[in-house]
């Protein structure tokens, strides 16, 4: 696919620890076009954050390795880019919002300086005054009074801190924004505010976004497409209608939706998916969801299912073959 902003092909990531090799991502294909928002959903340990860190090439030193695959961002093949060039890409073309705003700001530097830092790194041509003006306008953009830029992170509330983090991420108007559970650490009312703001900014700046979350409600509200991750691969991908509609879905996706409590029904218990994700140090040969799948057949254990595509909807499951 050409014309895509981000294109990941056959990505494999391994964490090599002293005891064993952890296969975190196993043949991931993913693409995001300009202005699009993709929701990346999956349970803890499915490889969502690892995917984001691979795009930034910030996998932990000497532990995380991209063993196979290509990541093309805005026409540049990232796996071949040197660390020095990568520093110019980070924050400029692609930016990341981290999960916890409490810890992703430096406690001893005034927040305005922290926004300024990104600009001084990537917009060398700007004068001191122009940078000052930029910082003020970015503060206004995320709904914070510029007069508070001299204050330290501990003087702000959680929601305001996340606004500052978003301001930092958007200050150079990146083409792609990776948001790693941007609202998980916030309480529900603030979550809605921050999400609204992100949607507005995204439309205003025409930024593409990968939104990592396990909140299916947030995805429905913000995303154009959804990808469901399980054990390091994408098992289902499609438009919001494909996944939230009444059509057939991957058994795991069914399980995810089934585990949400219903507001209208008269249910007394939650419906979790039984079992755990397979051990990433020794993955099963066949379908990775086999152990927990309610619709499994004999073939599923031995042979990994292929990706079955129909229109915008693709599913990695034998049930959808042919």
């Amino acid at each position: 696919m050409t014309g895509e902003l981000l294109d990941i092909r056959g990505l494999h990531v391994v964490y090599r620890t002293l005891e064993s090799d952890v296969y975190a991502i196993n043949g991931l294909d993913l693409s995001v076009s300009e202005g699009e928002t993709l929701g990346l959903v999956g349970e803890t340990g499915a490889g969502k954050t690892t995917t984001a860190l691979s795009i930034l090439k910030l996998l932990p030193d000497r532990v995380g390795f991209i063993t196979k695959g290509e990541i093309t961002l805005d026409g540049v093949e990232l796996t071949k880019v040197s660390e020095a060039d990568m520093q110019m890409i980070r924050g400029n073309t692609v930016s990341m919002i981290f999960q916890d705003p409490m810890s992703s700001l430096n406690p001893v530097i005034p927040v305005g300086k922290q926004v300024e830092e990104v600009l001084t790194l990537h917009r060398r041509e700007l004068s001191k005054r122009e940078i000052d003006e930029q910082v003020d306008s970015i503060f206004g953009m995320v709904g914070l009074p510029p007069s508070r830029k001299h204050e330290y992170p501990h003087q702000f509330s959680g929601g305001m801190k996340q606004r500052i983090v978003i301001a930092i991420a958007l200050s150079c108007q990146p083409k792609l924004l990776l948001a790693d559970e941007p609202t998980t650490a916030l309480d529900v009312t603030i979550q809605a505010q921050v999400l609204d703001m992100m949607r507005d900014l995204k439309e205003k700046l025409r930024t593409s976004m990968i939104l990592i979350t396990h909140d299916l409600g947030v995805v429905a509200e913000l995303c154009d497409r959804v990808a469901i991750m399980y054990a390091g691969e994408i098992i289902e991908m499609g438009s919001i209608d494909d996944l939230y509609g009444t059509g057939d879905k991957h058994p795991y996706t069914e399980g995810l939706f089934g585990s949400l409590p219903s507001l209208t029904g008269d249910e007394r218990r939650l419906h979790p998916i039984d079992g755990l994700m397979p051990d990433p140090t020794s993955l099963p040969q066949g379908c990775k969801f086999y152990e927990r799948c309610p619709k499994r057949t004999g073939h599923c254990e031995a042979e990994a299912p292929a990706l079955n595509v129909s229109g915008t909807h693709s599913v990695r499951c034998r049930l959808f073959a042919g």
Partner: protein, 289 residues
């Protein structure tokens, strides 16, 4: 948190507010300020050559009086003048030593902590070797090899000070480098050296300052000890340790010869330790209120 700490622009302001609450630390600070002031301005109102250096046998071993506040020594030199000029040496050598070992130790500690791996291991094992030799023995052997004098004294004390700072800085860097804001700084394109300088070290400044004050107290003690055994400054130079050493033979009849330099050492060391204690409390976020 007090109102000023919330409104104030700088953390140091709130640190100062907490520091001020401890009378005993304020006492230490004023003692150090007095020492710096008196020794700094000494050149104006005391003539170094005639009072502290030249022998004046007619006036030898005089007890304290209005003319000689602390009396005179066996060569007729004014003890007050020598104590005051001695403070210059101790403080100057102390400050230079701390600055040097802080700079070198921070570089070594940052590299070892941030990059880790083989290089970090090698650096820290070298620090281990330095630490395994007692500071005084290390200083004695270095001065013995290089000879007396202020410059060599500074080298000797720096060598024994570096590993302590390297260890402190490394341990702080290790805890800070895994925090999310460092990851975030990488994610918006900061280089490693920029992260160390702008994000990691500023977070380490509290413990480093505390270590620096207590280390400076130790350095002052070491300078005096070395001079006492004749390995510090040349014996004509007014220095607290060598004054004590000279006074040994006269202390029975002229106890003030040992009393005043001794008190000077105690004052300087105590002042620095009190300041260090106060800073430790003022900088500890767990004790903030």
């Amino acid at each position: 948190m007090s109102e000023a700490a919330v409104r104030g622009k700088s953390q140091w302001k709130s640190v100062w507010i907490r520091f001020r609450k401890s009378t005993i630390s304020l006492m230490g600070l004023s003692m150090l300020a007095a020492l710096l002031l008196i020794s700094g301005s000494a050149g104006i109102w005391i003539d170094y050559e005639s009072q502290a250096i030249q022998h004046n046998m007619k006036q030898r071993l005089q007890h304290p009086s209005a003319e000689h506040f602390f009396g005179t020594d066996q060569f007729g030199r004014d003890v007050f003048a020598r104590v005051v000029f001695g403070a210059r040496i101790s403080l100057l050598v102390g400050i230079l030593t701390i600055t040097l070992s802080l700079a070198i130790g921070s570089v070594i500690g940052s590299i070892a902590g941030y990059y880790g791996g083989r290089v970090g291991n090698l650096l820290m094992r070298m620090m281990d070797v330095l630490l395994s030799i007692p500071a005084i023995l290390m200083a004695i052997s270095i001065v013995a090899a290089l000879g007396n004098g202020m410059f060599n004294l500074i080298i000797a004390l720096t060598v024994s000070g570096v590993p302590r700072f390297a260890y402190i800085v490394r341990s702080i860097v290790l805890t800070i480098k895994n925090q999310e804001f460092v990851e975030a700084a990488k994610a918006y394109g900061s280089s490693n050296s920029r992260i160390i300088l702008r994000h990691v070290l500023p977070n380490a400044i509290g413990p480093i300052v505390v270590q620096a004050t207590t280390n400076m107290a130790n350095s002052i003690l070491l300078i005096s000890s070395l001079s006492f055994v004749g390995l510090g400054m040349p014996s004509s130079t007014p220095e607290w340790g060598s004054m004590l050493s000279d006074a040994k033979q006269y202390m029975r009849h002229n106890p003030y010869l040992i009393l005043f330099p001794g008190m000077a050492i105690v004052t300087a060391v105590m002042a620095l330790n009190l300041i260090g204690d106060g800073l430790r409390d003022a900088l500890d976020p767990k004790l903030r209120n």
